[in-house]
Amino acid sequence: MSTGLEPVDGDLEGSEADLASLIGDRALERDDHVNAPGFVIRPDDVQDVLFDLRDRAGFDYLSCVTAQQYEDRYESIYHLKKYDDPTQEVSVVVPTSTDNPVSQTAEPVYRAADWAERENFDLVGIDYEGHPDPRRILLPETWQGHPLSLDYNQEKPQMVTLAEHANPLKGDTKDTETDTMFLNIGPHHPATHGVLHVKAVLDGETVVDVDPDIGYLHRCEEQMCQQGTYRHQIMPYPDRWDYVSAGLLNEWAYARAVEDLADIEVPEYAQVIRTLGAELCRIAAHMLALGTFCLDVFGDFNAVFQYAFRDREVVQDILEDLTGQRLMFNYFRLGGVAWDLPEPREDFFEKTRDFLDGLPRKISEYEDLVVTNEIFQIRCVDTGILKPEVAKSYGATGPTARGSGIDMDLRRDDPYGYYENLDWDVITEDGMDNYSRVLVRMGEVEESAKIIEQCIDLLEDWPEDDREIQSNVPRTLKPDADTEVYRGVEAAKGELGIYIRSDGTDKPGRFKIRSPCFHNLSTLPVMTQGEYIADLIASLGSLDIVLGEVDR
């Protein structure tokens, strides 16, 4: 595990032995995962251990909190990483009993645990003691039971009316003295990028408090994946998490997790194609992000949105040629990809090169329209401030984190695919504001173009007898029982991680999606408190959330 990199603010190396000695007696036993050492601790030691891991071993990034119910226990798993070196991972496993599933909250250590634990309470039913806001998050307030727990009865009515649910003794909370105004922004609102409900408290035009209410697009994606077979049936679903053309990036998250879990090799040729496709998706996704952000800042008649869509359309055409579909690609397979490049290959290369050649001109156009526009600058510079330490605590990743100067990109720091062998840069901006996030995305489009160009060069010269697109994967894949893996990739919005526990069958025992949008969105209240409504909308746009991925 140890890579020899020094942890930032700790007195320990990240090696397994060091971690074991740091946790010491508090570790009841070891429960190692495929790519991370795992320590089982008592439910009342959570904060203690996590504080030590954060402050002394440098694990400053709570990547994911998984929860699941076994026959004999509930279990919460905290997947920790380091922003400086995401390959250093550790899992903290917290079992609780089935009759009293109470576990100490990790919220004081990592703010990211706030929403993550709410989700676990909502879906699995673990109570987190000391949690500041123990409400449901994805399901409606009136939902009965916890759908991912083992004793959940699917036949029972799952929702009751609010009147039946509400506490009749609870007084009316309406405060007639207050000077503030409560405003529901969404779930149907022009600027919420889907069905997001933001409960905003306003003092005039100033935002006093914001509470994003999510879950309107919850489609039980985790449960659906738990009911599909590894080999075929799960792959179509990742396309539907972040459904705005980032499909291949999502598929890669699943592919990477299972390939690690079942130890599947991917041919190099397929990795290059994957890299090519994924970066095309990233360009398409960032174009859309830019366009919709401009929609929020410019208004509904602006040209940037249309230009962004027009340019994204070219990428979509290329992806359609490659994968056969425009959004729901279903192109990756375990151990490779479904199809080789389309024949005739020259046409495909030419089409892609034409796009790449036209890109600099288009980007300079966006620069004229957006980046150098003075009104855009006064609107976006120094608004929606997300300080790096706050971003880290909330587990923000992707362009949102890189716009705050956090230099983390899993493509470089935890390499997969063919990225290591290619020449490209990670874009970071130190502005911490909406403007920086736009600049990061536009910079990443250029970097993606560089990657695609190199991939095309490679593919053009690839020897014809070595074009293996899929390794030999058994038709029914049954990974060993009780293997656990958590793997992330750099999706368009940040780290998209998948946790899978196999139970010996051909379907996952637990499938957990760590959504980057979910954690990025949780930073919205810090970003916007004290700012104007217009900046709230702009900040929301700059986070580039996709509700399909937030709610899953």
Binding site: A191, N302, I378
Partner: protein, 379 residues
């Protein structure tokens, strides 16, 4: 209505106004005051319908086509030639819709607001000299009257805002008032600088004052349009006007991505049509004021009968300009808007006024010198 008043008290000398000419033409002026009233109504009817027809073309069709041109699209092109019949289709569609009125709406105010918004702009057209002899009234205080009627719209907006019983409407109404007050003053003050040049508030006189030749370049006579005489005031006026009519970058009273649709969120069907028409009428009224005050009104090459054509061309140019701004400029934030209005535009407007007054005052003594000096300073 105002035309009726002015015909009863004809203060003008010079070219007869539209109601008078209509009266002569139809013989209605023989019938005394009642006949004059009828003639005035007919005149108002003609002008009103001309403006409504223009908004009818602009709202459902031209706006879409212009936006589409900026964004590489076609827009409406299926119904009729160039999609023009969309105007009919949209009219039928909008009028056929159910008029949904919120339960908690403050009824008389809610119902009156769309009428005020639409009619306040219509009133302004009464004193605009549109060329080809089309002018309903020409009071001595014409310019002040136009600003006053355009300002009435703010009342309509705030009524719509609070009466809708919707928080978005409320915010939109408040924003509209804050914006209109902040920009009306620079608008009027900048307009005053023109009055100093022209020496009158009367619209026809302002137009007449611009008919002279400012300078001749290469055989081409540049008329003394105040846009050329004082381009700074022109730019200031156009900017304030964009804010006044609430278009990008100052479209924050509506700001669809922030507060849904502002004061008009709850309006549907006929009421929506009225507010929508009112908005476009205001754009056109803004264009008409700019054309009259800065662009020589109906002046243009060709015979004087073409005046109305040139006038409409100028109005549409202003409309096109607002759509162009919409395609390219982000909207500013409310605090920035107020800051630009009170700290920027107002100061600049007064500076412009004082400067103009100084120049005009100093040169008043020698009228011949005025023109040459102006040529030196501004050309």
């Amino acid at each position: 209505m105002s035309s009726a008043v002015s015909t009863l008290a004809p203060l003008q000398v010079g070219e007869p106004l539209l109601p008078e000419r209509l009266g002569e033409l139809t013989g209605l002026d023989q019938l005394g005051v009642g006949g004059e009233l009828i003639a005035a109504f007919i005149g108002a009817f003609i002008v009103g319908n001309l403006m409504l027809a223009m908004t009818g073309v602009a709202g459902p069709w031209a706006k879409r086509k212009i936006t589409a041109a900026f964004t590489d699209r076609y827009a409406v092109n299926r119904i009729g030639p160039f999609g023009l019949l969309i105007i009919v289709a949209d009219a039928v569609r909008l009028l056929a819709k159910e008029n949904i009125i919120p339960e908690d709406a403050d009824r008389p105010a809610y119902d009156l607001a769309p009428i005020i918004v639409a009619s306040s702009a219509m009133l302004g057209f009464a004193v605009i000299p549109m060329g080809s002899g089309i002018q309903l009234a020409d009071p001595e205080v014409g310019l002040a009257y136009v600003f006053a009627t355009a300002g009435i719209a703010s009342i309509g907006l705030v009524m719509a805002g609070y009466a809708s019983s919707n928080k978005y409407s409320m915010i939109g109404g408040l924003r509209a008032v804050a914006q209109n007050i902040a920009y009306e003053i620079p608008l009027v003050v900048t307009g005053l600088s023109v009055v100093i040049f022209a020496g009158t508030l009367q619209m026809s006189e302002i137009v007449a004052a611009q008919a002279e030749t400012l300078i001749t370049i290469g055989g081409l006579d540049i008329p003394m349009w105040y846009a050329f005489v004082n381009p700074f005031a022109f730019v200031l006026f156009v900017a304030a006007n964009v804010a006044e009519i609430g278009r990008n970058p100052f479209d924050i009273p509506e700001a669809p991505t922030e507060i849904v649709a502002g004061y008009q969120t709850e309006y549907s069907s006929v009421y929506f049509v009225l507010i929508y028409l009112g908005e476009f009428l205001h754009i056109f009224l803004g264009g008409a004021i700019i054309a009259t005050v800065f662009l020589g009104g109906p002046a243009g090459p060709g015979p004087a009968e073409l005046g109305i054509v040139w006038f409409i061309v100028k109005i549409w140019a202003v409309f096109l300009f607002t759509q162009w701004l919409r395609s390219a400029l982000p909207r500013v934030r409310i605090d920035q808007l107020i800051e630009i209005g009170w700290k920027g535009m107002l100061v600049l407007a007064f500076a412009n006024l004082v400067l103009t007054a100084l120049i005009v005052g100093l040169l008043e003594a020698d009228a011949d010198l005025t023109l040459t000096m102006l040529t030196v300073i501004f050309a």
